[in-house]
Symmetry: C2
Subunit: 341 residues, 2 copies
DNA sequence: CGTTCTCTTGGTATCGCTACCATCCTATAA
DNA sequence: TTATAGGATGGTAGCGATACCAAGAGAACG
């Protein structure tokens, strides 16, 4: 309609208009909409009628400015594409919505500097809370969070010292448990394929867990059994092939990224390598896919939905007045033993 | 810090504070931050110094209220979980971010009433633009959009009469093309498994495309060859088994949902049915997975990234002043012939 | 019957920023 | 030198809601 970039909002009806037409004061309209119980039945009906008649939409921007309260939560994930995050995001979104909050989402692409810029931007939007998937942050991010005092949830890992609240599982323990599990099943030459380690504390923790388990199993820690690969089917396939070429005795391989594992599995089918006969395959994160693949794939079940749900719940409680206390929730994980090992 | 729900924003520094400390007027601060070129070098340096010293974060809420302009785009998808949308969301997010916009995301769970509530809520937040994956809307949604005049992009399908702008491919043409492709390859008894049809124009269009192609191929339109299944691996497997039981002569099956197709493929592996020897499998949407499965799966490549990117670009252009004109972009699709057919 | 208390309602002053216009200063032309 | 344009700065008045306090109306009480 307007050809100026400036939004004139079409028929912009405001609260005072509704008040006038309903024959009440703007304050009564405000109250009738936000706390109907504090307004008499009669007033409420008059207001509701006027609101419906004009199709009035309260301006939350003005409301937020005035009340110094916002109903938007900011979320920063490394990648929106990744389906693991998608599960968590959905859960967060659901909980927020049933409590009248909204979600602003941004992705940092695994870069700390980008996280910094995004945290600033979201705080400039005056989000009332933040969810960060990352758990290592630049000093500026830590300062900003401290200074503004917004509630923050960290979810990607269990940090020793959370900024505020944390809801996650331990990447270290999970990787250690799976490696130990493979050892218990009798595998002795266990390869490990990790996602990129740079700017990613989760990957690093998983690798540490792998080595810790090897040590406990009394197996040698051979760095050449560890390969770093960007996530992807082809990369997983490639990593497995390279490991087997350099280590013909490899009897199991643990992929610290689900897509990698599936890529490797397909490669085995292509080459006619029996799984787990020739080589066992274990994965990280319980994609649906892994339960339906042939053979089904042993993996770690991480309750991603629960992480999202509980994160959002903690945030909502805090925003609704719960005392501000450090919380650190370990949602745990579970080893799902299937045909591939 | 505060135990009242009301955010007091910690050390809440405002523009006038910066102005005072920099020895300039608030307007100069405002300009130095938003249009540095209109401010002298000297002033800009003074302002920048004060901004850095206090770690000042402009309050975009106040800015939006004052300028009646917001930099937040609203997005409604049926499901955040679904990785197809995730690709699109990522592309939208990227384009918006490089142009200084933010993304507020919500999911309608395939329900029209929910879309209605969400559109209202997002408009109350005064988003400056909307992206809707759905293309069938309730009257109230259409009215709201018309009244407020916000730019809107529809992306799930190519509507005959877009609300405003549309960027998509034709579900009808895509399904028709794939069905025709199967016919051309010599398949004669082609099953069709569709996602739920309720409140989902995309599914309906795909089914129409399937029947249109059968007609062109001179094949009988047998409704019992069509099955409706909620998306999922197990459901796809189940659908294929049922079709083959009722139609032993089935020689190909077209799944209008990628996960369904993969589920069916796995089922074939489990039962030892050769693909495409016993039955050919075709899918919709080019998940990475399909390119790496064994056998690789014939599918329709839909440029989801491009849809997201171009949607966001159109929106940004409009917001930056491009004239308000109806646009309807068909990004097309592509048949990817692979081993499974 | 007056007093106190509770429940509704309304008026007013912001919230923190930007649009708009007035002002001032410098540079260039006449 | 004066006139004039043009760029840089500042003052003021909102944007559309809500917080806070004051006031009015009944109800309950002694």
């Amino acid at each position: 309609m307007s050809d100026k970039p400036r939004r004139d909002g079409g028929a912009d009806i405001k609260m005072s208009d509704i008040a006038r037409h309903a024959g009440v004061s703007p304050m009564t309209v405000s109250r009738a909409l936000r706390e109907p119980s504090t307004v008499s039945e009669k007033m409420r009906r008059k207001v509701d009628a006027a609101v419906r008649e004009f199709g009035y939409l309260p301006n939350r921007i003005a409301g937020s400015l005035s009340s110094k309260r916002s109903n938007v939560v900011g979320l920063i994930v490394p990648s929106i594409r990744n389906s693991l995050y998608a599960n968590m995001v959905q859960a967060i979104s659901d909980v927020l919505r049933t409590n009248g909050f909204h979600l602003m989402i941004a992705n940092s692409g695994h870069h700390l500097e980008d996280e910094e810029a995004l945290v600033s931007a979201l705080l400039a939007q005056r989000v009332c809370g933040l969810v960060l998937h990352n758990t290592t942050h630049s000093k500026q991010v830590r300062d900003l969070v401290a200074k503004t005092g917004v509630p923050v949830i960290e979810t990607g890992n269990l940090p020793a010292e959370p900024l505020d609240m944390a809801v996650s599982y331990s990447n270290f323990e999970a990787a250690r448990a799976m490696t130990a599990h493979l050892g218990r099943l009798g595998y002795r030459k266990i390869g490990f394929v990790t996602l990129p380690l740079r700017d990613n504390d989760r990957s690093e923790e998983r690798r540490r867990g792998y080595f810790a388990a090897l040590k406990e199993l009394g197996l040698p820690a051979d760095p050449s059994l560890v390969l770093e690969a960007p996530g992807g089917f082809a990369e997983g396939a490639d990593a497995l092939v390279r490991l087997i070429q350099t280590h013909p005795g490899l009897d199991a391989c643990f992929f610290a990224g689900d897509v990698l594992a599936v890529g490797a599995l397909f490669e085995c089918q292509r080459r006619g390598w029996a799984v787990p006969g020739r080589v066992a395959i274990a994965s990280f994160d319980d994609l649906d896919l892994l339960r339906h693949a042939v053979p089904t794939v042993t993996t770690l079940r991480i309750p991603r939905d629960e992480i999202g749900r509980r994160s959002a719940e903690l945030l909502v409680n805090r925003l609704l007045g719960a005392p501000s206390e450090r919380v650190r929730i370990d949602v745990g994980f579970e080893i799902v033993q299937r045909e591939s090992t």
